[in-house]
C-alpha cells in the first residue's frame, strides 16, 4: 500500500465521517460546521489531484462564503434546533433502501467496467496552473463565463427581491398616504 493510498484513506474517512455527522446532528449549526470540515478535506483532495486553483476556490467559495451564508441564515432565523415531527412513516426505510440501491449500482458499474481500474498519475507538465485555467476561461469558455456573470446578477437581484417584499409594500402604502394627504391639503 503506497503512501498516497494511505493519505487518501485517512482523508476519505474524515470526509465521510463529517458528512455523516452533518446528516445526523440535530443542531443545524453543528451541521454547517461539519460541512466546513467536509469541504476543507475535499479541497485537500483537489490539491492532491493537482488542481490548486479549484482547491482554493473551494475554500473561498464553499467553506468561506456559502457556509457563512448558511450560518447567517440559521442564526438570523433562530432555527438551530427544529423540534418538528419525525419523518413520514416508512420514509427512513425507503430512504436507506434508495441509497443502498444507488451504492450497489455504482459498485456494479465499477466491477462491470474494468476499464476504470487505472491509476491517477501526476502529469509531467503542470496541467492546471491558474494561468492555464484563466486562458481556457477567457478563450474557449468565454460565453459560459459571461453567462455565469449574468446568473450571479440575476441571483443577487432575486435574493434582494425575495427578502424585501414587506418593505416595498410599506413604501407604496406610505406613498399612497402621502398622496392622499396632498390631495386633501
Amino acid at each position: 500500500m503506497s503512501s498516497g493510498v494511505i493519505i487518501f484513506g485517512v482523508l476519505a474517512i474524515v470526509a465521510v465521517a463529517s458528512a455523516i455527522g452533518m446528516l445526523i446532528s440535530q443542531n443545524s449549526v453543528y451541521s454547517a460546521l461539519f460541512l466546513v470540515v467536509n469541504f476543507s478535506v475535499i479541497a485537500v483532495l483537489y490539491l492532491i489531484l493537482g488542481a490548486p486553483f479549484i482547491a482554493l476556490a473551494q475554500i473561498t467559495v464553499y467553506a468561506g462564503a456559502i457556509v457563512v451564508l448558511f450560518l447567517f441564515v440559521i442564526m438570523m432565523l433562530g432555527t438551530e434546533r427544529l423540534t418538528g415531527s419525525g419523518p413520514i412513516r416508512g420514509q427512513r426505510l425507503i430512504a436507506i433502501l434508495v441509497g443502498a440501491v444507488f451504492l450497489a449500482e455504482v459498485t456494479v458499474f465499477l466491477i462491470w467496467r474494468s476499464g476504470l481500474t487505472g491509476v491517477i498519475t501526476p502529469s509531467a507538465t503542470d496541467l492546471s496552473t491558474p494561468v492555464s485555467i484563466g486562458n481556457a476561461l477567457f478563450t474557449t469558455y468565454t460565453l459560459p463565463f459571461e453567462a455565469t456573470s449574468l446568473i450571479l446578477l440575476v441571483a443577487v437581484i432575486g435574493a434582494i427581491v425575495l427578502t424585501h417584499p414587506e418593505q416595498s409594500i410599506s413604501r407604496k402604502q406610505t406613498l399612497k398616504t402621502v398622496q392622499k394627504k396632498e390631495t386633501r391639503g
Binding site: G4, V5, A12, V16, A19, I20, M22, L23, S28, S31, L35, N38, F39, L45, I48, L49, A51, F53, I54, Q58, V61, Y62, A65, I66, L69, F70, V73, L77, L82, G84, S85, G86, P87, Q91, R92, A95, V98, G99, F102, L110, L116, T117, G118, V119, I120, L127, S128, I133, L137, Y141, T148, I151, L152, A155, V156, G158, A159, L162, T163, P165
Partner: protein, 100 residues
C-alpha cells in the same frame, strides 16, 4: 498512486449521504446543505477524471458548478427567509399549502 475507482467510491458514498440527508431531514436548511454535499461529490469526480485523463475541461466545469451553486444558495436561502416570514418555520412538512 491512488486508483480512480477509489475516488469513484468516495464520491458515491458522499453522494448517497447527500441523498439520505435530503430524504430524511425535515429542516430545509440541512436539506440545502445536503444538496451542497452532492454538488461536492460530483465536483470531486470531475476533478479526479480531469487528473486521470489529463484534460483541463473537468476543472473548468467544476468552476462553473461552483458559481451556479453559489447563485443557487443565495436564491434558496432568500426563499427560506421568505418562507420563514409567512410560516415561522423552516420545517419542510409545514410547507404543504399547495397540496391538493
Amino acid at each position: 498512486m491512488v486508483p480512480i475507482s477509489y475516488y469513484l467510491g468516495l464520491s458515491a458514498i458522499l453522494f448517497v449521504t447527500g441523498i439520505l440527508g435530503v430524504l430524511l431531514r425535515r429542516n430545509a436548511l440541512v436539506i440545502f446543505m445536503s444538496l451542497e454535499l452532492m454538488f461536492n461529490a460530483s465536483n470531486l469526480l470531475f476533478v479526479a477524471f480531469s487528473a486521470y485523463y489529463k484534460i483541463l475541461t473537468g476543472q473548468i466545469f467544476v468552476f462553473f458548478v461552483m458559481a451556479v451553486a453559489a447563485a443557487e444558495v443565495a436564491v434558496g436561502l432568500a426563499l427560506m427567509v421568505a418562507i420563514f416570514r409567512t410560516k415561522h418555520s423552516v420545517d419542510v412538512d409545514q410547507v404543504n399549502v399547495l397540496k391538493g
